[in-house]
Symmetry: C2
């Protein structure tokens, strides 16, 4: 178990045994991904993570990037990480062959990302580049694609998402960065952006900012926002020239310290050029088309960090003697390993239930995304609706519950958990941002209840219920039946709450039914992860019949975590239900002056 941060066995279980992703090769698009290709891909990812990422996690936190005279010096390993991920084809993996990609299923790519993030969150530089490249691929013209994509896919150039401004955090409709049309078809860009991840560093030759700005004179609000590609260095005549994008500062972050967040000034010397990506005033709408993937990536990072913290505390619990059994306190006997204490087992099972349940949901969503890409007609449409519905949960559950689970990881270690000789304290700091990245939990809750649940007259929710029903029907063994019934009850309660809130939506202003949307999201998340555990339980129980060697404990572990989840997590729905069925408008109507 030395220095374990993920279980490759578990990843293969989820991909192959639970989701059978090798069956994706029935679609032409994924025909090259047979079982052998999947295995090779995962093994290659694990090897890269073992060599280039994991050994540097701690030191990249401690030796964070430094800004001096406008230049950000990153840890020397960063260049190697980005190069390894570029050379290995990981940045381009999901893109189509004809655009230089490998048509890798997202489920397979995200399983790999999960390993990379579990090993070291600094892998994020490369996948930020992928996200930026995808915007150019999806909406840019041929010239932009030809110029930018190859160097971004190879990792020679960094991509960023330059959205946030000081006066407009979550409220993107209020951005003021301005683009002035030039006779040559380009735009002069002027403005300031903050919290720009990967916004400036010395591990790449150029940085390509996918930037939201308003074309001079554009309408107010979201309908006047356009997307531009704004490089740090632009093509001059024969040579690259500085494009007047300067780094005014780096933010000191609680965690993910190796992953810079920059404050950027565009056009301070009036010499910053940008090029329109997609249509004018369609910037936000276009960007949101790729939002599902970005949010699932955020959840994947959180699930990876939660996995690393689980294995770190599990390792400690297996090595650390401390105290004795309550019924045998003979002090002349040696102390027992802390994994023998029930309360430590509880904290470990909590972590296992969260990190593995999260991964299952993320692969579930990635699998839907794969079907959206490859299938046609109703199959495609249904997968798309399910993906839309589950995305806020796949983003939030790993992020929010990952905070709780890394916190339990610290507690397993006691004082050692608080000290930086051990990985837990860093992991707890690292994971804290994921509930804020790509739309805070509050925003995800409103997205789920205010948009997704009502999508196409509630069709997405109906599709989900059918999927859950299928799992419950399969869970008909003596062992699993009680959990299936418990899940059925929870789903029924969720239905009742949803009906109640949608009823309010019909008669009241939207603030009313959305007041506790965050709690609704929490409720929904607990049910959905229960579904994933039941799904894993069905597969594990069947596999146990012929399991040998280590596989016996592996499958028994799945059933153990399933039982734990239904014993300790599902009951939390009771309190949430009480609150969600109460329309007292306590917070909504609360006089802000009383909060003093």
């Amino acid at each position: 178990m030395s220095n374990q941060y993920v279980s490759l066995r578990n990843i293969k279980f989820i991909l192959n045994e639970v989701f059978n992703i090798e069956e994706l090769n029935q679609y032409d698009y994924y025909q090259d991904y047979d079982a052998e290709a999947i295995k090779m891909t995962l093994d290659a990812a694990k090897q890269l993570a073992d060599i280039e990422l994991f050994p540097f996690r701690m030191e990249m936190d401690k030796q964070k990037p430094k800004l001096k005279d406008g230049v950000v010096t990153a840890h020397p390993q960063l260049k190697k990480i980005i190069k390894a991920l570029g050379d290995g084809g990981w940045i381009s993996a999901h893109a189509p062959y004809d655009l230089g990609g490998q048509q890798m299923p997202l489920s397979l790519q995200n399983a790999s990302l999960y390993m990379f993030y579990a090993a070291n969150v600094c892998a994020a530089y490369a996948f930020l580049t992928e996200g930026a490249a995808n915007l150019i691929l999806s909406f840019g013209n041929q010239e932009l694609k030809d110029y930018y994509i190859p160097k971004m896919f190879s990792g020679e150039w960094q991509g960023t998402m330059a959205l946030t401004e000081p006066q407009a955090g979550s409220s993107l409709s209020d951005i003021t960065t301005t683009a002035y049309p030039q006779p040559d078809g380009s735009y002069k860009i002027k403005g300031q952006k903050i919290y720009i991840s990967g916004g400036e560093h010395d591990a790449v030759d150029n940085i390509i900012h996918l930037t939201l700005a308003r074309i001079e004179g554009a309408p107010a609000g979201t309908k006047g926002i356009s997307l531009f590609v704004v490089p740090k260095y632009r093509q001059g005549e024969g040579e690259m020239v500085f494009n007047d994008v300067t780094c005014a500062g780096l933010f000191g972050k609680m965690g993910q310290k190796g992953y810079v967040a920059a404050q950027l000034m565009f056009g301070e010397s009036d010499d910053c050029r940008g090029w329109l990506v997609g249509e004018e005033n369609r910037g936000l709408a276009n960007m949101f088309q790729l939002m599902n993937e970005a949010r699932i990536a955020t959840g994947t990072m959180a699930a990876g960090i939660a996995s690393a913290s689980y294995y770190a505390s599990l390792k400690y619990a297996h090595e650390r003697p401390q105290g004795r059994h309550l019924s045998d306190k003979d002090v002349t006997k040696p102390q027992v390993l802390i994994i023998e204490h029930a309360d430590v087992k509880r904290m470990l099972l909590f972590q296992k239930a969260i990190s593995e349940g999260s991964l299952a949901l993320l692969i579930q969503c990635s699998h839907y995304a794969d079907i959206v890409v490859a299938a046609e007609g109703e199959e495609k449409e249904n997968a798309h609706l399910l993906l839309e519905l589950l995305t806020p949960i796949a983003k939030t559950y790993p992020s929010e519950m990952g905070i709780q689970s890394t916190n339990a990881g610290i507690q397993c270690l006691g004082g050692a958990g608080y000290c930086d000789d051990f990985p837990l304290e860093q992991l707890a700091r690292d994971i804290r941002i994921n509930a804020i990245y790509e739309g805070t939990t509050g925003i995800q809750g409103m997205d789920l209840l205010g948009r997704k649940v009502m999508l196409k007259g509630g069709k997405a929710l109906q599709l989900l219920l059918a999927e859950v029903q299928a799992t419950m029907a399969a869970a008909n063994s003596e062992t699993l039946q009680p959990y299936s019934e418990e899940l059925a009850k929870s789903v029924q309660v969720l239905g009742g709450i949803t009906q109640y809130l949608i009823g309010l939506a019909k008669t009241e202003r939207p603030e009313v039914f959305l007041t506790d949307a965050t709690l609704y999201l929490e409720f929904f998340g607990i049910v959905v992860i229960g579904w994933q555990w039941l799904k894993m339980g069905v597969v594990a129980e069947k596999a146990l019949e012929n399991a040998k060697g280590d596989d016996v404990n592996f499958y028994q572990g799945k059933l153990a975590a399933l039982k734990f989840y239904f014993a300790y997590e599902i009951p939390k729905l009771r309190g949430l239900k009480t609150r969600l069925m109460n329309n007292d408008r306590l917070t909504l109507d609360m006089n802000a002056d009383y909060i003093n």
Copy 2:
């Protein structure tokens, strides 16, 4: 509200209006603490915190103490802080007049500590000295008292608690540091201690380690542990000589970075002397006599940090425009302050409910401690039992829920909450250790359910129920009646769970009924804080009748937080009950190999 970290108004409300601590002066021991003295004391504490502590909170985190050649250099302000707390009489405040103290009620001193900790956790150096001095005062001989106490009370010398060893964290019975008797009555000390807070720094002239060790040949386990005073410099002939206590390293901590945790080597050159405090082999028992105060101090620190985070996020919520109301998204209008969003109000009220509820419970416990000191007979005994029962909750609730509440504080700020320009991320790091200090949450749970609830045949629990009944009876207004009834139901459920678990204790080995002691503690804590909120509600409702000016919002705020607590926190009991009434022994009997 600029830079607010506590509400002096709220502290005075709890001390004067809820607990009427000026009535303590009916006891001779506290006769000097009339209303005026209480006011002056609180104002002086606030002023000291404003000037010496709060302005340095951030920089003492960023410029942490450094070890070089055995010398630990602390931030220069540390010397001023310790001197100010010593000169102000804060270190000696609680001690009797005849021992150089001021006989200050613990309720008043802890209200002051709460301010100090809210301003800057580095205040802890001084109160660690107080704890160490109290051990000498309570158990040391006259010579030790005369020699050590004055310089410790003045802050010239630092005191520490040297308990933990690498092989024995929570399991103190396994310590191996050894004391060898010398002809002159002293002992030679040899051993290693870790995580020693305040263990080495340059802001004082000497450091006095209250050290647990075994006298050579002592029995195994807790019955062979003695307490020694081991100074860094001992009295030589005419001058101080180095006592062979060396600092081998400092621990890198997640938070409380200004507060050093040292690894100490005693007697590496065979020249470390210690002096016995109290009787041989009584060290642990004696130390535990002062454990209630130490645990309440830990809770007080957590409540202080939670207060600071509440006011920091409240300030941000009042200053930060972001987004618009869902029913009026007109982008040509200015954005609204985030405190107008229901989800932000929810997070703020959550923080208010936790930090103020925690303070109330801490003052409740301190008040019992004051009665133990001053009263006689049954009154004294009852107060002692109540203090014993509530201490694990007063330690744990602020520490565990403080983690959740600072976490909500970060979320209020979004990205800014993750950045070190704002105080939240530090406060979240600082508070994480309190659930580990002075006995982890798991240990507190076993203390509550395994010892305290059954103390004197359950008398402590009966006394508590009577206290809660009295509050419920007073909450008989139209507004408060429903909360009183809800609390009554919760108390009844708590009683049922307790009976059920105690039943198991009678028929099964102790591991069985204690399996989920941590969850029992959580349940108990939610009920007890509900009681404190109802108590505050009764006072606030009455006071509202004649309130004017700012007091109207203040008292309305109390009722608002009460309502919030019963709407959002009390329902959590439902899930906990389901788990606690289930004796499936899931974690206890779980094969550790399944946790993989």
